[in-house]
Every structure is written in C-alpha cells, then in structure tokens.
Symmetry: C2
C-alpha cells in the first residue's frame, strides 16, 4: 500500500545548491520563508504562540539511497537509519526551526537547512513535552571526529 | 509534483483501536516493536548507540482533514498546523520513542502512541543538537485546561 503526498507549500531559503548549506538547523541562523498555498492558509491559525515548528518536507533532490552511507559529520560508513542522510527509501526530511513571524500564508523561520524550492508536506507545532529529549544519547554522533562539528 | 511513499516496515503496538491509545509518547510507557522489512534491515546498523529514535509513519486510518480542529488536549478549535491532529493533508506522523533493544530487523521501543499495523516510512536517529529545544514555548498547549493533561 503506497501513500501519495502532495505539497502544501514551498520553502524559500538562501540555498540554491548543496554547497554552503548548513548540515543541520541547530548550526544555522539562516532565515527562510515557508509559503503555504492559499487553500491551506487557514490551518496556520494559533501558531503564533509557538516558538518553534517542525517542518516536514520532501527531499526532492535526493536520488535513490544506499543502506550504508558516510554521514557528513563522520568519516565512517553507518547504517542509513542511524544517519540523517537525505538519500532515503522515502525521501522525507524534518527540521525544527524557530518561528520568527507569521503573516497571512507565510511563516518566517530561523535555522533553516534545506534547499530553496523544497516542497513542504506538513507543519507541526514543536511541543517540548512531546519532542524534547535533551538527555538523549546520540551514538556515533557524540564521538564524531573533532573536525566534523557540523558548523558550516 | 507528487511523492509516492512506500512502507519500509510496520509498527506493532498494543493498540488495536484509537480508544485507550496514549495521546503522545511522552505520556506512554507502552512498548512496541518496529519491524523493518528484510530488504531494509542493513540500514539499522549503528542505531545501538542512540537512546531515542524518531519514527515517521503513515497515519493510515485518518480520513480527510479539516483546517480547524479541536485538539484532544484542548476545548477550543485550533488551526490544524498548530495541532498534532492525525487528519492532515499529508497523513505523516512522527513520534520520538526510546530505543530499548535492536535485534536483526526489529527495534523494541518504549513510549509508542500509534495503532498496531501502522505503516513505517522512515527511522531517524534522535540527536539532541538537532532535535531538542527544551525551552521552546508551546502556545495553546501550555495553557490547556487542567483536565486535558494528556496522560491516558
């Protein structure tokens, strides 16, 4: 059983190609604009009280996948599902970003790490009770080489 | 441009219907089993160092959506994208769960909040640097009625 996903908007960012793009939003102060298509705009109501949102999007430029990949932040090949590599069986990406402003059908966000033109699939409010596990252990990521700190 | 998603596995849980299901994983100690199909099993390597993973799945029982919904945890209708309601234009769900054990092609996880048989679309490692924002403000959720604490 397959599931067909249809973009509900588009993410505008300063990144027209992968070079120079931050590896992950925590290390980015880049500002982007999440434009929701008119027919979905009413669904943005009540987001103004949230400091962060989770963007779910299609990794539209990724082509195929490998089950073992060398992460950007490591020197060793890892199992794909232990990485955030964009080449995945289902090319779904997620990024938690800071919500700076909300106007009509657009969100201005900080900490964006996706290519300009990325198709938006969903927006979810970030709720620390559900989403924050500050003490989680992060396997190989915690022991990655010092030259792979991920700050671009 | 549409995107076709194909399940990479299935999530086994104690919840055969929506009644009695925890609202969100933070409030659940329920144990589930994430079974990845054989062809993807090699991608689970290196997950053993992670205490938590993010499951991405199809909300396969949701039917249609409304842009204003009354959340389980509130008495007031809210914009859909300010809620985690399962009825969404693209029925993608995400849950952060504790990784208890990993054997062959199955993960045993704690804190599961999905229906038995939920189609798995992706697994991502939970990395606090990327995913934890413990001080995030959570809008209406922080001011919800005291009888809607969400602990099932």
């Amino acid at each position: 059983m397959n599931f067909v996903m249809t973009p509900i908007g588009v993410i505008r960012t300063p990144f027209s190609d992968k070079s120079g793009m931050p590896i992950q939003p925590r290390f980015s102060q880049a500002v982007g604009r999440v434009e929701v298509f008119e027919e979905y705009a009413a669904g943005l109501q009540d987001l103004e009280g949230f400091s962060h949102v989770i963007l779910i999007y299609a990794l539209h430029r990724s082509e195929g996948y490998s089950l073992r990949v060398k992460p950007f932040l490591d020197d060793v090949a890892r199992g794909l599902f232990a990485t955030r590599h964009p080449g995945r069986p289902n090319p779904i990406g997620l990024s938690t970003v800071r919500l700076l402003a909300w106007r009509d059908r657009a969100l201005e966000v900080e900490g964006i790490d996706v290519l300009d033109g990325t198709p938006l699939l969903d927006i979810k409010p970030y709720v620390p009770d559900f989403d924050a596990r500050p003490d989680a252990r992060a396997g190989w990521y915690e022991n990655r080489p010092p030259d792979k700190e991920g700050r671009s």
